[in-house]
Amino acid sequence: MLREIKWVDLEPLAIGAGILGTGGGGNPYLGKLQLRELLKQKGKQDVIAPDDLADEALTMVVGSIGAPTVGIEKLPEGTEMKRAIRALEKHLGQRFDAVAIAEIGGSNSINPLIAGVQLGIPTVDSDGMGRAFPEIQMSSFSFNGGIPVTPLAMADCRFAEVIVPKAADEFWAERIARNLATSMGARSGLAGVVMTGRQLKDHGVHYTLSLAHALGCRVLAGRDANEDIPTIVAEVLAGEVLLRGKVVDVFRRTTRGFARGWVKIDDFAERERLQIEFQNEYLIATINDEVRVTVPDMICIIEDETGEPVPTELLRFGTRVAVLAVPGAAQLKTEAGLQVVGPRAFGYDVDFQALPGGVVGERPPVAQHM
């Protein structure tokens, strides 16, 4: 298991988190850069296993909220998330013991490490999704744990702080936070989903930081040794290679902030056609019209040769890819979970068909370091 993150760990972590991003989760470039600079100064960020967190410990999730297009221009002051956490502490009259991860997939795996280094508290090796989803309440913390997003705190680059003690529901919390973010200049740090160590242990998807890191390490080592990367990824994630082939068609449209569409992939022998429906993330996979993978199980697309994750925005005709079917975390497959992140919740008229087995959320076998 991962005990710490140093700057050399960032490349494997980004690759692993990218693959677990199942097509979404955002580009981690700027976050990775900020964390790299912090780790060059401070050496490392401690990672704590969920088991090692006391039941009465206090934790929360942290991230950045705003428009990605603004984010590439107005770079953060750098301590927005830290200050949001401090403001939340002041509101609660309690100190946090650790930072948890909202989603391991994509760029949000990096923010809790940045805030953790700055506050000098560890990042918990656990997240709410074990993958990526577009909305904060699509999380085991929310649908299994019933943990509200509020109270939440936000902070901007001008050192303003805002507390939202309470909202009618998660929908209103999201709406209020978005509007606050806009008046703050479309880029703020946000901390919320306050929970105890016990709640996190009960509802988190555990060891996902370790898993992302180990996965990235195996991919990088496999590249050096000229191994077959899709086989390695399938092995690490206890999934199967569904199909290897070429992207033959992509359709996308943007509605209500979601990148929706589908992609068709033919196997190299052109005998089978795989179609994947996506809404920010890859959600449903069918081969020759037979449904094979359904959300919250995971559909991961990687470049066939390098294992580099292929997000939806980079899907292009001719790209040679491997598509993996990976069993999603058990926490997402509860009755409450399927109501929020099952196929019907995304508007597909199919039932969830669980893939057997799975390692996401399970204790990883051995620690791996580069």
């Binding site: 850069l33 428009a67 770079l75 680059c157 068609d249 005709f317």
Partner: protein, 513 residues
């Protein structure tokens, strides 16, 4: 008449064009003294067609000189970067992601100041004149004259960069100031990177442009001369001396524009086969499709509108291996005329194999008789597959599209590429680059965020188009020739209140050409 010159790393190509007709062309190795090489090739062309230099309307030069200077870390001057945006942006200072060796060469001089704008035009923090003056004095005291200035959201509002530039020029009388808003678009680090690279190239640019000018004067050419930019349009020589960074990637753009011109096609795939690599790009309405991702130059991330090219290690000089069959990426490159079998060398190159197939007749055929017909056929099939896969990757749909093959190594492609509707090898394909420079137009761009509060989408679109048009006219385009060639709209989905990012590109013919 126009002259187009492409000063590449290996060859200097020159063409003389009258209207749409190529009157003469010449290829010569690039010399260490760029000026001498240009004089040499100009003299050749002038002698060949007994050209009266007074009949020239313009000379267009494409050059990789400035890109190579950054890649090789040569001839760069120390440059200071002043960024306005405090308290935002502190955690990622200028040059944070540069390779160490390049950052050292440029000096890692950076200064953060208050200023900057929000996406909607509000001020991040007020501009502080005395703060800027203090920084300018520090820069002066370090003996630095090249200064790059960036300000958050300067593509939306240039005011702070302009004011800071005036103060710097006031404090440092011989300052070379580059404003990021004049060379880049949204994306602070990338735009700032380009501004700093531009700063460190200014002295080299002055010298190089002066060298070009001297070459033309020596040949009694009085026509105006222009330099090609990365987007396939031209800038005049004075402008180029101030903005050398805008020449980055003009090579592939010129070659694709040349291919479009030579073939008469506006929508096609261009396969440019060189000595070591093959570059595949896509023409859309006569212009190269631009890359969606950030492009690295010399290890530095930029967000220029670079042509979206895909490169494979296959060229005329690629080394061929048997058991199993493999071609490239190792290549004899420009030494092909000494080291390939057909030219008396000892290495089996891709060109040797093509001669062995009997489909190509160059060099000494008798030197490849030991290559069996079977083997040659297999290697040819392998190369065709490499190109087919790369072409597939660049296509946007399964529909067959025309493929234009250019470049010195295009003898490697003798069979139709599967997935293409036709394959063209236009005449003068070997100098497509110089032709692309000769036919280039001038352009203008507008890329910023507009608010839709109080105006309709059509109104802001018109406003953006008009800004791009005005910039094209400022660059020398005749107003009646201007066409809008690209409009890109990006709704800022995560922002309530209607903000939209619009990028428009306009191009037009150069006055008098």
């Amino acid at each position: 008449m126009r002259i187009g010159i492409d000063v590449g790393g290996t060859n200097t190509d020159i063409v003389l064009m009258e209207g749409r007709e190529v009157r003469a062309w010449y290829k010569t190795p690039t010399t260490a003294d760029v000026t001498a090489g240009i004089i040499n090739s100009l003299r050749h062309i002038i002698d060949e067609v007994s050209l009266d230099p007074a009949s020239l309307d313009g000379v267009m030069i494409g050059t990789t000189h400035f890109t190579n200077a950054v890649v090789e870390r040569r001839h760069l001057q120390e440059t200071a970067c002043l960024r306005l945006g405090l308290p935002a942006t502190v955690c990622l200072p200028p040059m944070v992601d540069w390779p160490d060796d390049l950052r050292d060469v440029v000096g890692n001089h950076y200064f953060l100041a208050h200023g900057g704008h929000e996406f909607d035009g509000r001020v991040i923090s007020p501009f502080d004149e005395s703060e800027i003056r203090g920084i300018a004095e520090q820069i002066r005291d370090r003996g630095i004259s090249a200064v790059a200035i960036s300000s958050v959201f300067s593509p939306v509002n240039t005011e702070f960069e302009v004011r800071a530039g005036e103060i710097v020029a006031d404090v440092i009388p011989d300052a070379n100031v580059t404003l990021s808003s004049e060379i880049g678009r949204i994306g602070l680090l990338e735009r700032e990177n380009a501004a700093i690279m531009n700063g460190c190239l200014r002295t080299l640019a002055l010298r190089t442009i002066a060298g070009f000018r001297a070459a033309l004067e020596q040949m009694a050419i009085e026509a105006p001369f222009f330099i090609s930019q990365n987007d396939g349009t031209l800038m005049n020589a004075e402008f180029a001396a101030d903005y050398p960074v805008l020449t980055f990637a003009s090579g592939p753009t010129n070659s694709m524009r040349g291919a479009a011109f030579l073939s008469g096609l506006r929508d096609a795939i261009v396969v440019d086969v060189g000595g070591t690599t093959t570059d595949i790009g896509v023409l859309q309405q006569g212009f190269p499709r631009v890359a969606a991702l950030a492009v690295d130059i010399g290890g530095v991330r930029t967000n220029f509108r670079m042509p979206d090219t895909y490169n494979i290690g296959l060229g005329g000089g690629s080394l061929v291996q048997s058991e199993p069959i493999a071609v490239g990426p190792r290549s004899v490159g420009y030494e092909i005329t000494d080291r390939a079998l057909i030219f008396g060398g000892e290495e089996m190159t891709a060109s040797d194999v093509m001669v062995a197939t009997g489909k190509v007749d160059i060099g000494d055929r008798s030197r490849v008789t030991q290559i069996t017909a079977d083997f040659a056929q297999n290697v040819e099939g392998h190369m065709l597959e490499m190109v087919t896969n790369a072409v597939d990757r660049m296509k946007t749909s399964a529909t067959p599209v025309p493929v234009i093959v250019v470049g010195g190594g295009s003898i490697l492609l003798q069979e139709e590429i599967p997935g293409s509707s036709e394959m063209l090898k236009p005449p003068h394909f070997a100098v497509a680059n110089a032709i692309g420079a000769a036919i280039a137009q001038v352009g203008g761009e507008c890329d910023r965020i507009f608010s839709l509060e109080g105006s309709t989408r059509d109104e802001v679109l018109d406003q953006a188009k008009d800004e791009a048009r005005q910039r094209a006219i400022a660059a020398g385009a005749t107003s009646d020739s201007i066409e809008i060639v690209d409009v890109e709209e990006v709704p800022l989905a995560y922002l309530p209140g209607n903000a939209i990012r619009i990028a428009v590109k306009a191009v037009g013919d150069l006055e008098g050409a």
